[in-house]
Amino acid sequence: MAKRIGMEVSIAAAEAVALANVDVIAAYPITPQTHIVEHLSELVASGHLDAEFIPVESEHSAMSTCVGSSAAGARTFTATSSQGYALMSEICYITASLRMPIVMITANRALSGPINIWNDHADLMMARDTGWVQTVAENGQEVLDLIFHAFRVAEDHRVLLPVMVNLDGFILSHMIEPMILLDQDEVDRYLPPFKPALRLDPKNPITIGPVGMPDVYTEAKKAHDEVLKNSKAVAVEAWKEFGDLFGRYYHPVESYKAEDAEHIIISMGSISETAMTAVDAMREAGKKVGLVRIRLWRPFPGDELIEAVKGAKTLTVLDRVMNLNGVCGPVCGEVKSVLYDSGLRPFVKNYIAGLGGRDVTVENFTEMVEKVIASAANGGSMGYEIINVNE
């Protein structure tokens, strides 16, 4: 039977990876991800987990080792953050292109510079177009459940792509939370043993990772794009089965009091819990406010998002990252893109919030939504703004 635990989320995440019967872990420590792989190394050293733990000299080597391990047919895991992701990013594109079903946790942290170890979504957004499936957790329970889901989706033969599970650094990684941890029988029922579709085997030699000349590169990209888009249906199916087995149902996009809402906040990650408290407060004050949270970031769930926001007059879109492009944040960019295709024309305002560990409060959400409602009424700008910046 599943048991209720009170545990630091990083430690519980490592326990979940162990329950997933991982074969190989190759990792390099980096704040705030370190506790996850540190605990996995303890589990391997103490004999509780029968796996290879390969300590490497850098994140570039960590992901390279993972590619080799996965190509040999082993269930493979690693974790990283921020600069570690930046260093391994060269291999991350290759991991996806080679269709290696590796699972990685990214404990989200700001990117330098200035150097900053605290939470925002800079690493997640650096990874956004690498061809990985990406999910974003709101709380500790979701972290655990998304880990099992990640292996299930990654290794599905209709997908065979790496999956990144994102959790907010410190805010989730270092928080002690009450969670329900599945037991081994339950995990085994949900997650069958890894059966590679292709693997390195001296008896049946193949070449993995040949050069893609101009006569095949376009077709390789097309095949990758199609499989990434189609992975959404598999992710949804795997969440449905998880819910049927264990009672916790997940969807690509979650709505909170959004069904009849005129004003909707769109967010991702742990900040959504604060947003829900703000929605409750605004509802009590008589405003029809709701929240839509994106859980499946890649592939982007455009249809589900449109369905969730179709009745709204205004959208307040949060981006927990400063992508320096002079247009808008990455979440807002996707939202505006799918809105345009859908024909819906709500008033959309983008707020950049919570950079490099800065708190975003319930009052901030109230302030943002009120400003958006006022702007929509008097023809204000739909451009982006940074919240809580000291002028």
Binding site: L98, L198, I206, I208, E219, A220, A223, E226
Partner: protein, 97 residues
Amino acid sequence: MAKETGLVSWKKLELGIAICEPGSASKLKTGDWRSARAVTDYDKCVRCGRCFIFCPDMVYARNEKGYYEQNYYYCKGCGICAHECPVDAINMVQEGD
């Protein structure tokens, strides 16, 4: 100008464009790259086999008499064999001459 499309349909590519036929690189006609070809003067050749050893491709094969003969399907004209030949038996001859 003809439209440039791929060699195969994206639907028929192996997973991650893996190559599942062992040794298929031998089909690659590196001879197409050549601007000069290695030609051996068998009156000078001492059958030492250095051309065979140093050739980075699969150009040289030993015949019944112990001489090494070129397969121009693979000769990319790099000239390493000519450089390494201890008796200067190999000359690089310009294609088209």
